[in-house]
Structure formats: structure tokens, C-alpha cells
């Protein structure tokens, strides 16, 4: 479990706190979306989960251990962070070696490494590139490679910073499948994203941040009922949800996706004659 208690944080070069009085608990087996406008402190918050940043006040505990006392490497074994820009991590000569890097750092056995890397590359449809330079991959492929290189060591928490940026529709679908698969294996996926359509389909728990403070922390459906909070955090509803909201007295609860919206409309039209 990740437990954040009364966390205050400021960068040494800045005057003001970037995170203020954050209190959250994230258990295993959840999907959690962290949303908020640019500069609200999302990336800063997730960097606390594997100890890259340490709180100025309060604490962050990962499986009961205070991040102040643990090395980033030890914490990362449990909490895998995938950053937004793949170019900030890719350095190996081949795609294969890019994935082995972390596993070697964590001291896995040679045999295990082989098995895990093969699995990860196959899973993300990258196995055909295993001997090519990762720098030659397309943007979307590089992003998948980064994800593969983290999933390969099987962390309990997978934290994704803006995973859908630059991904085409099909890849987003796949990513959603991956996330759902991880949940069935009792992992927790934490997603930082501005991609509201993507988040809506996952129906996760949503933590809304504004100016370094948690404004709302609730299940998706409830968060989107709170117009004041989502406005404050610069989040907008998916368009069909907006439509259903405007027609609220006529229609039941907002639909999960466009297909459900369609069938609701059809039923209604039949009823109306």
C-alpha cells in the first residue's frame, strides 16, 4: 500500500510549496487517475511514490516503509514509474538490451531476465525489433518500449505519466487492455493524464489536483457530478457525458461509452414513438 500523509513539498529553488497537505492511500488492485491542470503538481506527486523526491513535511510510506529510509532502487522494485518522454531513458544499442537494463540493476538471474524480456517484448508487439536500435523506433513504439521495460520486472504499482500522448487509437485500446489485465493480477495502475476520453472508459478512482492540493478524491462517476471541482482543475467532461448532463431530467445516469449512449437514445426514441 502507498500511504501519503500530510505531505508538503517544495523544490529547493522555489519559494512556494508545490504540494500542500496531501493525504491519500492507494491500495493494491486499483486504477487511479491523477488529473489537474498544467503545473498543478501531478508529476511532482508521483515522483514521491518511488522516493525520487522526499517530502519536506509529512511522509510517504510504501508497504509500510517510509521513503526517507529507502533507496530509490529498492522502492522502484515495487513502484515502477514510466515517464512521459521516452527519449529521457532510451540509451541501449538494441531494444532487447533496453529492457534488460533494469532487470540487471535489480539483480535478476540471467535465465529469468531472458524469459521476462521475451514476454514483455512479445506482449507489446516489439519482439521483431529486438536487435534494432531503440532510437530508430517510432514515437509510439518508443513509448511502448518504455512501458515494456518497466513491466518486465513486475512491480506492484505501475505509475504512468501521460501514457496516451502521441498514441494512435489502436495503441490506446491496447494500453487500456494492458491496464485491465494488470488489475486482474492485483496490481495498481496510477495514471497521470489529460486524456479524458481514455480515463472515462477506465472508470477509475480520480484524484483531482489544483495548485498542489487535492480537491477531490472519489470514484469517476461522483467526481464528474461535482462540476465546481472539475472546473477548478481544468478538467472537462467527455462530450457525450456533457450531452447527457444537459438532458439530465429526461435521461438516466450518464453512459459508460458512446455505444451505451446510443442504446439509451434508441430506447428513448422507441418509447416516444
Amino acid at each position: 500500500m502507498i500511504e501519503v500523509k500530510q505531505l508538503y513539498f517544495k523544490y529547493p529553488t522555489m519559494k512556494d510549496y508545490v504540494l500542500k497537505n496531501i493525504n491519500i492511500k492507494i491500495e493494491l488492485g486499483q486504477i487511479v487517475a491523477i488529473m489537474g491542470s498544467n503545473g498543478s503538481g501531478k508529476t511532482t506527486l508521483i515522483k514521491h511514490f518511488n522516493g525520487l523526491l522526499k517530502p519536506n513535511e509529512g511522509y510517504v510510506k510504501v508497504f509500510g516503509k517510509d521513503t526517507q529510509d529507502e533507496s530509490v532502487a529498492a522502492l522502484s522494485r515495487k513502484v515502477g514509474l514510466v515517464f512521459q518522454n521516452p527519449d529521457h531513458q532510451i540509451f541501449s544499442d538494441t531494444v532487447w538490451n533496453e529492457v534488460t537494463f533494469a532487470l540487471k540493476n535489480f539483480g535478476f538471474e540471467e535465465e529469468v531476465i531472458k524469459k521476462r524480456v521475451k514476454w514483455a517484448l512479445e506482449f507489446f508487439n516489439l519482439i521483431q525489433y529486438k536487435d534494432t536500435s531503440p532510437l530508430l523506433l517510432s514515437g509510439g513504439e518508443k513509448k511502448r518500449l518504455c512501458l515494456a521495460s518497466i513491466l518486465a520486472w513486475d512491480p506492484d504499482y505501475i505509475v504512468l505519466d501521460e501514457p496516451t500522448v502521441g498514441q494512435d487509437f489502436l495503441q490506446k485500446e491496447k494500453l487500456r487492455e494492458v491496464i485491465k489485465m494488470l488489475i486482474t493480477r492485483n496490481k495498481t495502475v496510477i495514471i497521470v493524464s489529460h486524456d479524458i476520453e481514455f480515463i472515462w472508459l477506465l472508470q477509475p478512482r480520480i484524484i483531482l489536483l489544483s495548485n498542489g492540493e487535492v480537491v477531490k478524491d472519489d470514484v469517476c462517476a461522483n467526481v464528474f457530478k461535482d462540476d465546481a471541482s472539475i472546473d477548478k482543475c481544468g478538467v472537462i467532461k467527455p462530450q457525450f457525458v456533457e450531452l447527457f448532463d444537459h438532458l439530465a431530467p429526461l435521461l438516466p445516469h450518464p453512459p459508460l461509452d458512446v455505444l451505451e449512449a446510443r442504446s439509451t437514445f434508441l430506447k428513448l426514441m422507441k418509447k416516444g414513438g
Partner: protein
């Protein structure tokens, strides 16, 4: 870890010293640099350092100047130890160390208080070829960007279990490979993008370039220059003719 380079990076700030004409700031910086080279006693260095720190306080950059200072302490220790090992006496080693400090901090005065734009104007006023100016100024301007990259790359690799400080000497050097390669790749990508962006905005189209700002000496600039030059003359006079 990277905050040490803070001591050489310009930050927008309000102070009397910042508003002085960059040519005069350069003059002051170079003058202190020169005096650091010719000084040879502890008293002389004390005067120079006090002056440097006074300017630091005046321009509200003292804190960052001290950081460069702390950073250079490790070099300093090295210089000191090597001097002693080679057989120079302690006094001489101290003087060399002091000279190193004053040379470093006098240079940082100019860079801490002058924006890349000002740097460009100063170089232009020396009639240097524009391509050279552009290359130099761009390099300076990109230092903070590359530092941010370096921080993010280090974060990424640490999240994949890299422990920079671990292992013996050789291993530690090797540890930097996963940080350096993405950094260099990023720099190359960035420079290509920059070149394309510049060309699409007609860089190099006309031989004669106009600029938005121009430099004009004002009263305070003449005043600062006069004070600086007088100080230098008195200082050198004191060293060579009064032998203090």
C-alpha cells in the same frame, strides 16, 4: 546534484546591478578577473573577494554565488593537495587556491547578472560575426534546458534501478553512460529542430540584422565604470608602488 551549476545561470531578478549596461558589467567582471590574476597576497585577495561578495549582495545573487563557491571547494581541495604534494609551501598553495576562487567567482558575476540577450548585444558591439555570436549565445541559453533534461534523465534511470554512486571507481564512471547517451541524443535532436525552426523563420535571409534592443550608456553606467576603473588603478598602484 545539478543545482551547483545554478551559480552560472542567469535568472531574471530586480537589482541595481542588473540594470547596469552589460558592457560595464563585463568590464567589472573582467577587471576583477584581471586583478585576481595579478594579486599575490592574502590581503589583496581578501579585498577582491570582499568586493565580489559585495557585488553579489548588491545584485541579490550572493546565495547562488556561494553555491558555485562550495562547488569549487572540491577542486580547490584538489589544487591545494597537489600543490603540497608537489612540494610548494602552504602559503603558496593557499594563494593559488584563493586565486582560483576569485577567478571563478569574478567570472560568474557577469553570467549571473546578464541575460543571454545582453550577452548577444555585448558581442555585437564588438562587431563579431553574427553566426559566431548566435552559436555562442544559443549555447549559453541552452545550458538550463540541458540541465533540466539531465535531471529528468537521471530520474528515469534511477526509477529503473540505476544507482549512480554505487560500485568502485570504474563502475561509477560506467554508471553515467545511461545518463550521458540520452543527454547527447536529446541535444542532437534539439539542435536539428532548432536549425529547422530557425530556417523556417528566415534565419540568414538578409545580411543586415536589426535588433529590438540597443545599448545606450546612461549616467549610472558611466558612474559604475568610473568607480571600477578608479578602483583598479588604486589597487594596482598599491600593489606595485606601495608594496602592501
Amino acid at each position: 546534484m545539478f543545482w551547483i551549476a545554478e551559480g552560472l545561470i542567469y535568472r531574471r531578478q530586480d537589482s541595481v546591478f542588473h540594470t547596469i549596461d552589460p558592457r560595464i558589467k563585463l568590464l567589472i567582471s573582467m577587471m576583477l578577473f584581471f586583478l585576481s590574476l595579478v594579486s599575490s597576497t592574502i590581503v589583496e585577495f581578501s579585498i577582491i573577494l570582499v568586493l565580489i561578495f559585495f557585488i553579489g549582495a548588491l545584485s541579490k545573487t550572493l546565495k547562488r554565488m556561494v553555491r558555485t563557491f562550495v562547488f569549487s571547494l572540491s577542486f580547490l581541495a584538489m589544487i591545494f593537495v597537489i600543490n603540497i604534494l608537489v612540494g610548494y609551501d602552504i602559503m603558496f598553495s593557499i594563494i593559488i587556491s584563493l586565486r582560483f576562487i576569485s577567478v571563478v567567482s569574478s567570472t560568474s558575476i557577469f553570467f549571473l547578472t546578464s541575460s543571454p540577450d545582453e550577452l548577444e548585444l555585448v558581442m555585437k558591439s564588438f562587431y563579431l560575426p553574427y553566426d559566431l555570436i548566435f552559436a555562442f549565445v544559443t549555447a549559453v541559453r541552452f545550458v538550463p534546458v540541458i540541465m533540466l533534461d539531465a535531471i529528468q534523465i537521471l530520474d528515469s534511470q534511477r526509477s529503473r534501478g540505476l544507482e549512480i554512486e554505487k560500485g568502485n571507481f570504474i563502475k561509477r564512471i560506467k554508471n553515467y553512460i545511461p545518463v550521458l547517451i540520452p543527454l547527447i541524443v536529446q541535444a542532437i535532436i534539439r539542435s536539428e529542430e532548432l536549425a529547422e525552426a530557425m530556417e523556417s523563420r528566415a534565419y540568414g535571409f538578409s545580411k543586415k540584422k536589426t535588433s529590438y534592443y540597443s545599448l545606450h550608456l546612461r549616467k549610472r553606467d558611466y558612474f559604475a565604470a568610473t568607480v571600477a576603473i578608479c578602483f583598479m588603478i588604486v589597487f594596482i598602484y598599491a600593489i606595485y608602488f606601495l608594496h602592501i
